[in-house]
Assembly symmetry: C2
Homo-oligomer: 333 residues x 2
Amino acid sequence: MVTISDVAVQAGVGAGTVSRVLNGSPRVSEATRAKVLAVIDDLGYRPNPMARGLSRGRCQTLGAVVPFFTQASAVARMRGVAAALDDSRYDLMLFNVETPVHRDEFLATLTRRDRADGLLIVSMPPPPEALVALTLAGVPVVLVDAVGAGVASVGTDDVEGGRIATRHLVELGHRRIGFIGDAPSNPLGFVSSGRREQGYREVLAAAGLPFDPALVRHGAHDREVALRLSDDLIRAEDPPTAIFASSDVQGLGVIEAARNLGLRVPGDLSVIGFDDVEVSAYAGLTTVRQPLFESGLLGAQLLLEALQEAHPPAADHHELPLELVVRTTTAPA
Amino acid sequence: MVTISDVAVQAGVGAGTVSRVLNGSPRVSEATRAKVLAVIDDLGYRPNPMARGLSRGRCQTLGAVVPFFTQASAVARMRGVAAALDDSRYDLMLFNVETPVHRDEFLATLTRRDRADGLLIVSMPPPPEALVALTLAGVPVVLVDAVGAGVASVGTDDVEGGRIATRHLVELGHRRIGFIGDAPSNPLGFVSSGRREQGYREVLAAAGLPFDPALVRHGAHDREVALRLSDDLIRAEDPPTAIFASSDVQGLGVIEAARNLGLRVPGDLSVIGFDDVEVSAYAGLTTVRQPLFESGLLGAQLLLEALQEAHPPAADHHELPLELVVRTTTAPA
DNA sequence: TCACGACGTGGAACCGCTTCCACGCACGAC
DNA sequence: GTCGTGCGTGGAAGCGGTTCCACGTCGTGA
């Protein structure tokens, strides 16, 4: 491995000068610069990122803490993150979170600028203590699809999303509308589902429809689970004529349950989801689209900007628009 | 930030001793170990990965070079990689490749143990020179869904996959079978599609069916493109009664084209894809399943093992099984 | 009693880079 | 001619670890 002093010796200059050339310092004569660059090219020299990082106290890496499996939509967001980083000088470190222990371990590790210069926390509300620690340590953080006190975030209005979905069903004439969502106390503390449910209840109330707890089911954020829950819901007496699933993944489970029971969708049961993941277009699932890719993109851009300016990202919440996408799984009651 | 010497001072020992405790060296007395551990816990000390990496010459990081956007199936493989890393001490660095320039830049950077200790190259045949350079530099490499001379790899028999798909259509009585695949010379040099096409031609020949170039279309690995190509194919005179798309993504494009033209699938046109990505189950797409998750998992495991043993991974090719998954887009002619 | 290991330990050197400080030199002003 | 002044440069210190070497201090066997 060729090092900076190899280059220095070969070029007949000091290591400091090579470093200055490398970092575009103006305090190098044109002649020296040219000579050094020639040697660098000749030797195929590339600076060692760890040495550089150790010396500078930052590592040109962005960390993304993501429930990579748990949330299908997180992948789409990560695509946006990757896109933002493509033309930056930063590398991307992926921290896959499955459990709260996992998450806390990662966040503790990352509460220092020696593993990542900035942090993207995706689709997962971090514990407030962790956020405080991160802020104190001066690690820039942007939350994507989550909010936290004093921290920049990118997301959507989930309550409004719940309203949009439910309103769509109400406007189609449905009176008995079911809801399938995440368990209120899930291990990683996801709250989107609860917010969407709130929107659902608001619209029911506004439409003068009673809120019937029997029409609501909660479970893990998973297609299979949603399938079981909605199977149960559909078999009950006086079943709903429409179901709002708090995510597309769950919505697809609902559709499957309905079909298994010989129900036509949307003839016998209307189904609306949330997210608009790639799958949904093929499945024809009516849904509330949130800009997944864009959320990752924007989040990463905010972080890069903050790093550029060497100040923490403004603790604003950036709200991205939601949009009703009507496909073929919803119809008049 | 608390450093190793802070711990050393506080514990009243030398920095070397703290390091020995940290690394589980047996050359530390039990009493000292306990004292140091207490101080570490007390101070909340965590070793700086960059300093450690610089000193040890390795960085406890695995790099994954992946066409993250271009290949939908790559995400599923990455899930396997992430799973394998979950209970290892390694972090995961994601290098998203969009263009050959991108790829070569990454591979050049990674031809040193200072950014990643080992490399997973996913769904992308690396240039032979890069592989040689990597080997010379002693960077362990495992190819996932690709093969390369002298390098460990995990993959499937694409030719056989092409045979399986085509045979299924032939057995259903189809005589005019179309093929939609990647452009033979695509920027990143993907070859799977070509291999699958070879299997297609073999089975046609074995079945005594003529190979008709008019039934074959090539284009970018993309749903939209496949849609256009198959639209063209279906509108031609004497169109096929079945189409083998060399990936599910393309297969979904074919289905869309058929439906746009008012054809029933599989009534008027049978469609079979390849991969069995998550989407396909919902779309009811008949396909040849390859173990995507498992390929990433195995690839990462091989790499971790090699790192453990401190020798390059055996340059074997690990072949994973393929499986025909019949759903609702194929039917008798 | 002495020599010799083994053991536990401190400390220096080193990993490869950045950055600060000091120095030599050319130049212009007096 | 002398004295700043500023530029270009070399070199040392430092980033935070690991590891090697040397140095007591015991306990053991001759």
